[in-house]
């Protein structure tokens, strides 16, 4: 039964292989474009979620007789202004931006995600609506409302905001660990996947941390006596305490990763391990300062230090997001869609028919190339490699494979997934491998205007053999 479901699913994807007009981002790797915006958006969104929770806490302190100094209400109102100005504007629009950027970078991947999870995204939208109404109502009328109603609005706002994390977390963690969904194709198997819970708890704590640090910055901008400031900072520091759970959640998260992904985090990939260490290091510094300094010793914190800690939190978010994106490789959806948005079945099909044979979009600068073979190579690069590589820029192929000999290039491209298991299998016949090799060689040789066509049948046979040996995907 599962085999049948999977077969039908793959069939529908094969039939639906759409060619889109792909753009060149120059020296910038496409993954970096979406990653950069993603980090920024995630940080703002987490601020919005944690901010809601923090204000509920302060409002509750204020109305439950714990506000000896009578400042909680005012603080909540001031803090909310920042939340509206930063996260309602930038958070909302970078969110739409994530969607648009995903379409620009990898339309087939976002297409599959929308196909599988549109009802959950639509559900998330109902929470957005609640969040916006509750948030703006508090912003406009909060000051003149009685405490219980203020708390109701804040609880509605922060519950809605947290639920938007709940829904999107299921979709993003599915990309990395789809679990039994790969067999059943059931939306709930995909949503409640192995990394769903550790990732949800971890992100919830991150939200609280960002909100608390932002609160420390805001408190320092308010003209308050030092005793009041100290008190507010002490209460905000309560939101930093759950950081002590981060190591446990981190280990849980790493434990549920597939073995190959885990190995990259644990030293298999220098870049991913390094970013992991940045995230862990920055988080440890914040946690140490928060638990020992702010909570235990009840130190106060000035605006500059609070800002520095917030920047560290941004660094940790960036590191964490990079790791999350990185460990998925060579897939955008594990075992389903490779980084270049092709399914295993499509790869088999393209090895027969050619991957760009039916691509209706011409090369933008076709005259730049000396012959049709090099042009074919450039088209293959655009479809299969350009999502992660550039020509000369970030992760540039000229730098990575410039010193290889032609036969080395032929073998390494034909056996791409063995060359480095970050990479998807090559999706084309020997002629496309050879075209890519010629294109690369032409680039390495500074793009001369004349370039011979390589059509040695023995070379083709050798490539075919290598492709055959690399058909284990």
């Amino acid at each position: 039964m599962f085999v049948l479901v999977r077969f039908l699913f793959e069939r529908s994807l094969v039939n639906a292989f759409e060619y889109y007009p792909l753009h060149d981002f120059g020296p910038l790797m496409k993954g970096l474009v979406i990653g950069g915006l993603g980090i920024f958006h995630v940080f703002l969104a987490q601020f919005a979620i944690g901010g809601g929770m923090l204000m509920c806490y302060f409002q509750w302190l204020g109305q439950s007789g714990r506000d000896r100094l009578g400042v909680m209400r005012r603080f909540v109102d001031d803090y909310f202004k920042y939340l509206v100005l930063i996260s309602f504007v930038m958070g909302a629009l970078t969110g739409v931006g994530m969607w648009f950027t995903s379409i620009q970078i990898s339309p087939r991947t976002i297409g599959l995600m929308v196909h599988e999870f549109h009802w959950l995204w639509a559900t998330e939208w109902t929470f957005f609506c609640l969040e916006v109404v509750a948030g703006y109502t508090f912003f406009r009328y909060g000051k003149r409302l009685p405490d219980p109603l203020r708390l109701k609005l804040l609880v509605a706002y922060s519950t809605a905001a947290w639920f938007s994390l709940f829904w999107i977390n299921g979709i993003l963690s599915w990309q990395l660990t789809p679990g039994t969904w790969t067999e059943s194709r059931d939306v709930w198997d995909g949503f409640f996947n192995p990394s769903f819970w550790p990732s949800l708890f971890f992100r919830t704590i991150v939200c609280m941390v960002i909100a608390a640090l932002a609160a420390c910055v805001v408190i320092n901008t308010m003209p308050l006596p030092s005793e009041v400031r100290r008190r507010l900072i002490f209460h905000a520091s309560h939101f930093l305490l759950p950081m002590v759970l981060m190591p446990v959640l981190g280990v849980w998260f790493v434990a549920v990763l597939p073995a190959d992904s885990r190995q990259w985090v644990l030293g298999g990939s220098v870049a991913i391990t390094l970013f992991m260490n940045v995230a862990v290091g920055a988080s440890s510094l914040i946690a140490g300062y928060a638990v020992i300094g702010l909570y235990w010793q009840r130190l106060t914190i000035n605006g500059a230090t609070a800002t520095l800690l917030l920047v560290l939190a941004f660094g940790a978010t960036a590191g964490g997001e990079f790791v999350r994106e990185g460990v998925r490789k060579p897939f955008t959806v594990r075992q389903t869609l490779y980084s270049n948005s092709m399914t295993p079945t499509q790869i088999t099909q393209f090895r027969e028919t050619g991957s760009v044979t039916h691509d209706p979009y011409p090369l933008l600068n076709a005259d730049r190339y000396p012959n049709d073979q090099v042009r074919l190579g450039a088209k293959v690069f655009r479809l299969q490699c350009s999502i992660c590589h550039t020509e000369h820029g970030v992760n540039g192929l000229v730098h990575l494979a410039g010193t290889w000999t032609d036969s080395q290039r032929r073998m390494n491209i034909a056996k791409l997934q063995h060359t480095k298991n970050f990479m998807p299998p090559f999706a084309g016949p020997p002629a496309e491998v050879e075209a890519l090799v010629q294109w690369l060689d032409w680039l390495v040789n500074h793009e001369p205007s004349e370039w011979p066509v390589s059509d040695n049948p023995e070379v083709r046979q050798q490539i075919a053999k290598w492709l055959e040996e690399a058909s284990d995907y």
Partner: protein, 367 residues
């Protein structure tokens, strides 16, 4: 395509079309408020802003300055749902147009961010303390931003309806703008129509708004009457101009498309839209005479505005449906509908709508 929209389609297509049109209508109503509202304030600040002695802003201007940031937040949030459903309904077409327009398309985001912050800036004390002539400049910037965004959506939409050959040429020629004769009249329909929606919403706001200061209270009655008369004039002009723009747009459509518009699929919606406009015109005419709104007039206006907007969106869809490969799309819709989760969406749609209503009621009735 002779059966009334959306009943003649297989149920998955009908379901997605219905949800798309319903959520797009919500987006349109709020977007109309933003587009027409900012144009109104910009126009008025051009008249008053360069005068040597500052004049007291009218009730309408005060309401708009106050509510535009929220309306923009609402328009953007409401836009997310049709953005989702359009990807199910016409994925290839929508993605291709986005990709072809590339930087141009992506630029709507920074432009919207700038406009959003300018809307907050115009409410700030900071701007109040600056030179009064800065205000019209800020408003012109705001309305230009929204105009650009609206233009971009129309351009993207029209590009998405083109054939593969047009797309290929557009890409090969590295075009940045998609220009067709249809853009201007189509945009004019949205822009002119936006004012009648704005006036209907403002009628409510004027109706329930109370001045907060003693001066406000004294001037309340005179202000309200002036506001209602102004709204009536603007709304009637808006309806007339929208009709004109619709006629011009109709003459530019191909014969087959016009036939679809008058087929069983969509002609009743044509009739709805037209009767909506006629009723609105009549109500505004009456209000311009009496100079005051009532609950009943506002309810009639709101109902007919929603009816007209919804009908226009159906007609907009009928044009698109006549230009795409429906067979292939219906298969994709059926596949999408086989994925689970609809029940959860329906449940939270109801629950969250009830919570929203309860919150608004609680705040409205709170002392």
């Amino acid at each position: 395509m002779d059966v009334l929209f959306p009943f003649g389609f297989p149920w998955p297509t009908a379901l997605y079309l219905t949800l798309y049109v319903a959520t797009l209508t919500l987006h349109m109503l709020l977007m109309h408020y933003v587009l027409a509202g900012s144009a109104w304030v910009a126009g008025s600040s051009l008249f008053t802003g360069f005068k040597s002695s500052p004049t007291r802003p009218s009730k309408i201007i005060k309401l708009l300055q106050d509510w535009l940031p929220f309306a923009l937040g609402g328009a953007i949030t409401a836009g997310v749902a049709p953005l989702l459903f359009v990807q199910i309904l016409y994925q290839r077409e929508f993605y291709t147009a986005n990709l072809l327009l590339f930087h141009r398309w992506m630029s709507i985001l920074p432009v919207l961010i700038v406009a959003f912050y300018l809307l907050y800036l115009q409410k700030s004390k900071w701007l109040e303390q600056r030179h009064p002539q800065l205000r019209p400049i800020v408003w012109l910037a705001i309305v230009s931003c929204f105009g650009f965004v609206g233009y971009s959506w129309t351009e993207n939409h029209l590009l998405s309806l083109q054939s593969q050959d047009v797309w290929t040429d557009f890409f090969a020629d590295r075009e940045v703008f998609f220009s067709t004769i249809q853009i201007l009249p189509r945009l004019s329909i949205w822009f002119a129509g936006a004012f009648s929606t704005l006036c209907a919403i403002l009628a409510w706001q004027v109706h329930v708004h109370r001045g907060e200061t003693a001066i406000d209270l004294r001037e309340e009655a005179a202000d309200k009457s002036l506001a209602v008369r102004t709204l009536s004039r603007v709304a009637m002009a808006s309806i007339a101009l929208t009709l004109l723009a619709t006629c011009v747009y109709g003459t530019l459509l191909e014969k087959e498309i016009v036939q679809v518009l008058f087929s069983g699929l969509s002609w009743p919606y044509f009739a709805f839209a037209l009767s909506g406009w006629i009723v609105q015109f009549a109500v505004w005419w009456n209000l311009s005479k009496v100079g005051t709104t009532s609950r009943t007039s506002s309810i009639i206006l709101t109902t007919t505005v929603v009816m007209t907007a919804m009908s226009l969106n159906v007609l907009r869809e009928a044009i698109r449906l006549s230009q795409v490969d429906l067979g292939a799309l219906q298969t994709q819709h059926a596949e999408a509908a086989s994925v689970g989760g609809f029940g959860v969406f329906a449940f939270f749609l109801v629950v969250n709508s009830l919570v929203v209503a309860w919150l608004i009621r609680s705040v409205a009735t709170s002392k």
